[in-house]
């Protein structure tokens, strides 16, 4: 074993996620089904589970598809246009963590308050939400409504039965 380059590139969470899901799809669709060696299989499963944990933005990737091949490019373009001081590492962290509020943004972008006014900070958050999307606000209420609807449905069924 010889290390030729210790670090030849940096990957985003999305790229790793996509790579692992691609391998899985490819293996499942081949005839007969292939499987990675035991350790690699287990680790890749754990990594996928890890990346799909809330609040990582990839947790609803399967349903929402907020991220795609061009998203990183788009984010970089928009950042370069409006916030040219954001460094590459910060851009990468924004892409990975998707800060949708200012406190979270402040831990990713160094000395945020000195560099940007409050208005600009909000603009940055809005830009992130625009490009990378955000979680649905307060899903609990929706569940409550659904429950109510179900209840109504049951009631109406009962009444029709009674009639």
């Amino acid at each position: 074993m010889k290390i030729l380059e210790a670090q030849s590139a940096v990957l985003t969470n999305y790229e790793v996620y996509q790579h692992l899901t691609d391998i899985r799809k490819r293996n499942n669709s081949s005839q007969p089904k292939r499987r990675m060696p035991e350790d690699a299989f287990r680790l890749s499963k754990e990594v996928l589970e890890y990346l799909e944990t809330k609040p990582y933005p990839l947790h609803d990737q399967k349903e929402k598809q907020h991220y795609s091949q061009t998203t990183l490019e788009l984010l970089c373009e928009k950042l370069a246009e409006k916030f040219p001081d954001i460094t590459k590492a910060e851009g990468l962290a924004i892409f990975d963590v998707r800060p949708t509020n200012i406190p979270v943004l402040a831990i990713i972008v160094e000395s945020l308050e000195d560099r940007y006014t409050e208005e600009e900070q909000q603009q940055l958050v809005d830009l992130v939400i625009e490009v990378l999307g955000q979680d649905d606000p307060e899903p609990e209420e929706e569940e409550g409504e659904e429950g109510a609807e179900d209840g109504d449905a049951v009631q109406s069924v009962e009444t029709t039965n009674g009639a």
């Binding site: 680790l43 890749s44 402040a106 831990i107």
Partner: protein, 190 residues
């Protein structure tokens, strides 16, 4: 959090692997050897990213193995200093309130991530926010520690079958902090 490392290695394909295509066989062999292993000062290997170069296969005279020199890229878990990542609290040992508590976080089984935090959060003196086990937290990477397990002495036989204590130390641990606004349990910042 993830980097790509370029590695050169000799891959030996056994005759029973010949039914696979060369690419699949080589990838499987590399994954078998590297996945879920820590390379000191590189990080935790996840899986092959791509294979950039492979030599002609040379068949060994005695064993029939095909020997191939391969250059490939490996996906490696290696958060850099100052990076903010999230993890689940696995266990925490504390001496009590207002004492710094050690929180061990685990993102997956083989590498444990440890962080130090202070119990009382300054912003509000009335409320005390607890770090519960299995809660998801965000933390900032401060430093990393590498540990290479030296070979242990063979056990001397004794009459009493005393269970020997095995001390396990993670080969790669990450020390982080949660002592800043925005860090800590993620639900606080939603």
């Amino acid at each position: 959090m993830w980097i790509v490392t370029k590695i050169a290695d000799l891959v030996q394909l056994k005759p029973q692997d010949f039914y696979k295509t060369s690419l699949e066989a080589i990838e499987d062999k590399i994954n078998e050897k590297y996945a879920n292993k820590v390379i000191p000062n590189i990080g935790l290997c996840v899986c092959v990213w791509d294979i950039t170069d492979a030599s002609e296969g040379l068949i060994g005279q005695y064993d029939g193995f095909v020997n191939i020199n391969v250059e490939f890229h490996m996906v490696v878990f290696r958060p850099h200093r100052g990076e903010v990542i999230q993890a689940r609290i696995k266990e925490q040992t504390s001496q009590g309130m207002r004492q710094p508590a050690r929180v061990a976080l685990v993102t997956n089984r083989r590498h444990s991530v440890e962080a130090e935090k202070v119990w009382l959060w300054k912003s509000d003196e009335e409320t005390q926010l607890y770090y519960d086990t299995h809660e998801i937290v965000r933390f900032m990477v401060l430093e990393e520690r590498w540990y290479t397990q030296p070979p242990t002495k063979p056990k001397e036989s004794t009459d009493s079958d005393a269970p020997t204590k095995t001390t396990y130390q993670a080969p790669y641990s990450i020390i982080g902090t949660m002592a800043a606004p925005g860090l800590g349990i993620t639900l606080w910042w939603e």
